[in-house]
């Protein structure tokens, strides 16, 4: 039977508990949000002892289901003040699931100055004092932990930003190549830092593995599901070849590609940083343009990007990062962006929050637009060493905007708006405004239907249909985020009729249950509602479901459009 591992950092005790009945059918985001809702006082300080950091693999993690290796991390976010779930690939989700760990709950806070690491085996958790790796970057931590405990060890780690409890700090997860995937958004690295945990090592030795209730049914469903993923042009061909960065050109062409701190909707040298250029560069330099963030991924949207001498520069080089440093910070040099991506992984900061923060810092005149060297210096020197400027930057976009008295500060609920301008792609604006997580494109990816022609078409420049689109996608995403599935399964799920039923069949076969499509929709609705309830109890209301004022007053070229939803229209979102 699956267990809950509970770690109390106040008295440094650990417990292995049975899974309460009402948590049994949950995984991933559904479980982290349920635990945070039930156990974290909504008004608590996110960096204090009352907050809890929860990790949970998805319902299908650890099985042979394709693309099921995502790990959810949840807590009250120190960046947004809302509930937070952020999921990542890497090796830990599958290890946890095979070790019979339903969730890990880290609570309390040590009284003294000591730092710790947690070592997790199938039998429980050991808390050990950590001295050697304090102040170290994430790559050095992973290397050192592998030297101590072997190459197979799973690692969750924070860099200097997390140690300093900066709200752009992420939690890094070791991937199959000992590189890094990240629980990026919402400052969860700061929560881990507040509990004085530098890293968590995950030893899967003698893991009991997963028992599938109906193996034959599972096998059939898993095959149908994999076929749908491989048959769809996006998950089967576009993403494996060009990565997520294939979006640079199409978002730019659509006029919704935020440029120079959200001043323009197109970036003139866009093709220099595009997925097409990236793919050619990777091939020419002997990198890999196909790469999975976790074992069992068949989409392989990740890549390994080499420098001009053929040496490793970065991996997991995503559209949002490249957009943020590229168009938003006006850096038209893919190598410089790759180098900064690697530094962000090492320092342990969210690449979206960081890139948008840097663009606002450029607008403030801290450094000039296009200054890649300046960004490297701010990260390596100021953020890493915690100078006063480094702390202003390390606390994100809103922090810099406030410190420098700016108004063009693209955040919702204090979290940076990612790579799609809501004035020209209105559906995603509804998601940014209403998401329980603050501005988050993955929460309800309206780009699919507004721009990409997946799941039908809703005109990006018109208001009609956007609230309903965002609502449906946010409900579906909350459910998918509970399965351990990569969100990109949504592309085939939106277009291929067999895909979603196969996913539900796999869950049913795994647990010996009989969920229907309606049950899954209801699960998604339930998750959104408990998350919203947490936020309301934390002090949020509909006036926080708004985009910054400048989107209403500053026209975005080339379509010269503004954000024109009324408050009442936005608030319709929650009518379900």
């Amino acid at each position: 039977m699956d267990k809950i591992f509970r770690i109390n950092m106040t008295d440094l005790s650990t417990k292995v508990e049975d899974v309460p009945a009402d948590w049994a059918g949950l995984g991933g985001r559904g479980l982290t949000s349920t635990i945070v809702s039930q156990e974290v006082p909504p008004t608590c300080h996110p960096l204090g002892p009352s907050n809890k950091l929860v990790f949970a693999p998805g319902l299908l993690s650890g099985t042979a289901a394709a693309n099921s290796g995502r790990l959810s991390a949840g807590a009250k976010s120190p960046l947004t003040g809302t509930i937070k779930e952020s999921n990542a690939g890497g090796t830990s989700a599958q290890l946890f699931a095979r070790m019979g760990i339903k969730a890990i709950i880290i609570e309390g806070m040590p009284a003294g100055d000591a730092w710790y690491n947690l070592h997790i085996t199938k039998d429980g958790v050991t808390i050990q004092e950590e001295k050697e790796l304090l102040g170290k970057g994430n790559f050095a931590v992973i290397e050192a932990v592998e030297q101590r405990l072997g190459k197979k060890i799973g690692v969750l780690t924070i860099g200097p930003a997390g140690e300093q409890r900066m709200t752009m700090a992420n939690i890094s997860v070791k991937d199959p190549d000992s590189k890094i995937r990240s629980h990026g958004r919402g400052g969860l690295g700061a929560v881990m830092g507040s509990k004085r945990i530098k890293f968590i090592s995950v030893d899967g030795t003698d893991a009991p593995g997963i028992v599938i209730a109906d193996p034959e049914k599972f096998k059939v469903a898993a095959r149908t599901f994999s076929k749908a993923l491989l048959d769809h042009p996006v998950s089967g061909e576009g993403l494996p070849t060009y990565g997520t960065n294939v979006l640079v050109n199409i978002i730019n062409e659509s006029g919704g590609f935020p440029t120079q701190n959200f001043k323009y909707g197109q970036f003139e040298p866009h093709d220099k940083i595009s997925g097409e250029t990236m793919q050619e560069t990777i091939v020419a330099r002997g990198g890999k343009f196909k790469h999975g963030c976790h074992a069992g991924c068949i989409i392989q949207c990740s890549q390994v990007y080499h420098d001009k001498d053929g040496k490793y520069l970065t991996s997991g080089f995503e559209y949002e990062t490249i957009w943020g440093l590229g168009a938003d910070c006006c850096i038209d040099d893919l190598d410089a962006i790759a180098e900064i991506d690697n530094i962000m992984d090492d320092v342990g900061v969210d690449s979206i929050e960081t890139a948008v923060t840097m663009a606002v810092a450029m607008e403030a005149g801290v450094i000039k637009f296009g200054d890649a060297q300046g960004i490297k210096r701010l990260l390596r020197e100021d953020v890493t060493n915690g100078t006063a400027l480094g702390r202003i930057i390390g606390n994100g976009t809103a922090s810099v905007g406030s410190a420098y008295g700016l108004t063009r500060v693209p955040v919702v609920k204090n979290q940076a708006i990612p790579a799609y301008d809501p004035r020209a792609i209105k559906g995603i604006g509804i998601t940014y405004a209403t998401s329980t997580m603050g501005a988050d494109h993955t929460a309800g990816y309206c780009i699919a239907t507004n721009i990409l022609g997946v799941g039908g078409h809703v005109d990006p420049l018109k208001k009609e249909g956007q609230v309903e689109l965002s609502r449906n996608l946010q409900i579906a995403t909350a459910a998918v985020d509970s399965t351990g599935m990569c969100i990109f399964v949504a592309f085939p799920a939106l277009d291929i009729p067999e895909c979603l039923p196969a996913l539900i069949d796999m869950i049913n076969a795994r647990f010996g249950i009989s969920l229907t499509g309606d049950d899954v929709t209801n699960l998604g609705k339930h998750i959104l509602k408990i998350e919203r309830q947490f936020n309301i109890a934390a002090g949020f209301n509909s006036s926080h479901d708004r985009l910054p004022e400048f989107f209403k007053t500053e026209q975005l070229p080339p379509h010269n459009v503004v954000w024109d939803f009324s408050d009442e229209e936005i608030d319709e979102f929650w009518n379900f």
Binding site: G238, T244, V246, L247, I250, I451, I487
Partner: protein
Amino acid sequence: MLELSLPARRGLPCHAGDFSPRAQQLILSHYLEPELTMECTVKLFANFRLGRFKVEKFDLEPGSTCRDVVKSLSIDEAEIGVLLINGRHVTLEQALQPCDILAIFPLVGGG
């Protein structure tokens, strides 16, 4: 920051996106003798570029549609994900206007 499509050889003040198609036509008729062709820009992306081009100018017959352009490039209609003219979604039936920028994408995604 805008990409400009200037039909330089004619020296026209024609910036796609700055003028409505109607205005573009008026400018054209003001400066030109009636012509048998109109100039448009075609951009290709992702695997549509393979063996073709990134961006090229075409002299099209007035009234040409997106489908005519797609056919002339031997692109399989079934592989088309998105067609944009001047940054707006259109269908294959859409007729092009002078100075239009037509962008042709296979089905792509990310995020």
